[in-house]
């Protein structure tokens, strides 16, 4: 089968162990991520793994692309260590503050510059925003079809593939042709063991960094200014309840709880 030119879109996400340190900036209403370590999302790793497996099976090239500030280079270095051939970072203040539409539009400009792409892979949703919107929108801007919720990819011909897509309590199998964008789920593969830390230093390759002037974009459609959605206000969610703490030995606590639940009339069969 012919070799494929594969691009994987990855996103730096704040390490979930530090989520309690994230703050919304009261003025810009943007998430402040300063000082919070970034990591590569777990579904992004599945996407890279799948790209590498396809390349190993039929040859070709795997390029990862991301958008973000300079510290995003960390996850691109990680991707190199994982085995990708090339990495691109779209990095420019003009890209900052983008919503999903502006993000997808910007990433597409990078993918177009990479050129002649057969397959775009990404995680079905990111760990933080979890919107799952960028994949379908990148596909739209590239003018190619997409499938989300992908748990299996089988090539049945040079350009033809069967894609198993997860749906509620089941799946569907879709036949499609390259080029295509596929958003993958965790079921698609078991990623190889991540490289040991030393491998990070062993890699000599450095990601290409493209600014807004290196790609063809309509500057009205990128960054915060090019984003249709914004967050004019945030409010606290009141989810507080009684918070009555039951104390004592386990058996005492259990008895107390049963009495209270009985009084509230919420025990099954009551």
């Amino acid at each position: 089968m012919k070799p494929l030119n594969i691009v994987v879109c990855i996103k730096p996400v704040p390490d979930s162990r530090y989520w309690d340190r994230l703050r919304l900036d009261p003025n810009t209403k943007l998430l402040r991520r300063e000082g919070i370590p970034i990591v590569i999302g777990s579904l992004d790793i599945n996407a890279i793994e799948e790209a590498l497996r396809i390349k190993e099976a039929r040859g070709g090239k795997v390029t990862v692309i991301s958008m973000g500030p300079a510290n995003t280079l960390e996850i691109l270095a990680w991707a190199y260590a994982f085995g990708v051939d090339d990495a691109v970072l779209l990095t420019d203040r003009a890209f900052a503050g983008a919503d999903t539409l502006a993000t997808a539009y910007s990433l597409t400009s990078g993918i177009k510059k990479i050129g002649d792409v057969d397959l775009v892979l990404l995680g079905n949703e990111s760990l933080d925003g979890s919107t799952g919107q960028v994949g379908p929108q990148v596909a739209e801007f590239l003018g190619i079809p997409h499938v989300t919720g992908v748990e299996k990819i089988d090539f049945v011909g040079d350009d033809t593939l069967h894609v198993r897509r997860k749906i509620e309590l089941g799946h569907m199998v879709i036949e499609a042709k390259l080029p295509i964008t596929l958003a993958v789920t965790a079921e698609i593969n078991e990623p190889r063991v991540p490289p040991v830390f030393g491998a990070l230093w062993a890699t000599e390759k450095e990601a290409k960094q493209w600014t807004v002037n290196d790609v063809e974009v309509d500057k009205e459609r990128i960054g915060q200014g090019g984003s249709p959605t914004y967050v004019p206000e945030v409010s606290n969610i009141e989810l507080q309840r009684r918070g009555e703490v039951l104390k004592g030995e386990p058996a005492q606590i259990a008895r107390q709880l049963v009495e209270k639940l009985r009084a509230d009339g919420v025990l099954p069969g009551a």
Binding site: G135, E168, M172, V173, I174, R241, L246, P268
Partner: protein, 335 residues
Amino acid sequence: MEIEKYKGVWVFTEQREGELQEVGLEILGEARKIADKLGHELAAVLLGHNVSHLADELAAYGADKVYVADSPVLEVYRCDAYAPVLEAMINEHKPEIFLVGGTSTGMDLAPRVAAKVNTGLSAHCVGLDVDEGGCLKAQVPAFGGSIMASITCAVHRPQMATVPPGFMKKLEKDASRKAEVFNVEVKLTEKDIRTRVLEVFREEAESKPIELAETIVAGGYGIGSKENWGMLEELAATLGASVGATRPACDEGWAVQEVQMIGQSGKTVHPNLYIGVGVSGIIHHLIGIQDSKVIVAINRDAEAPIIKAADYAIVADYKEIVPALIEEFKKLGNE
């Protein structure tokens, strides 16, 4: 974009094999209020093949208008077929607001449509409102804390949002309500569509879905291992409860995400009694359980958010508490 030309509230009312999906009806209920507030009409958008008979049901749940796009190419959902049909409808009729249920279909379709018509889309909205200016405020919990972000799309139309199942309340069915039905001409043919569905497989749901359960025992990352998860299942069994889980517990493989995960991107539950074990209670999970009558939390960490969000909290190692609870609950059965 001349946004003043955009009028009307639309809801994508998904059907599968001729059956309307519940979430579409739920959104119609909420959209009815928004349409009334704006003084606009509420339209249901129905795509499929041989589905026009569903229009009556959509009217009964609040739609003033039903747009029916009926064609063999729309029989089973494919984005490549559905998205261009919706794009054409939006460009012709110019709705102010377009709401889509957050099913596997909706999450695949809505972003593509939003990109086609170059507008904003808010994902996983758990609350909807309109401000004085008629702008939709889509409420989305922001991660990492108990904050609700109100997302607005000021200068692009339609204002789009996806809403997960279970968050909105459908209206009482009123069969006397009638809607005006419009048949949408579908020009698309099979050769315009780049994907084919070869197979659709759906498992029969084994037990009562968790969103209908009256008693739920849910476990989080704090359970620690698949072996310990068994203790949780034993607790649930003594109560005849369903077992739910947080996202991290599903990620660990202790529970099945698509049937057991509770929270913003999972199930919304409405039990009489919810017992969370080793659940820290980040906001994404909490908003899925807020309709519970009574919430019990068992967690070692007194600072875990779920402690304050619970009616009764037990700050202790669950491995000591759960066996005592099992014993106590067993006595109930013998009374």
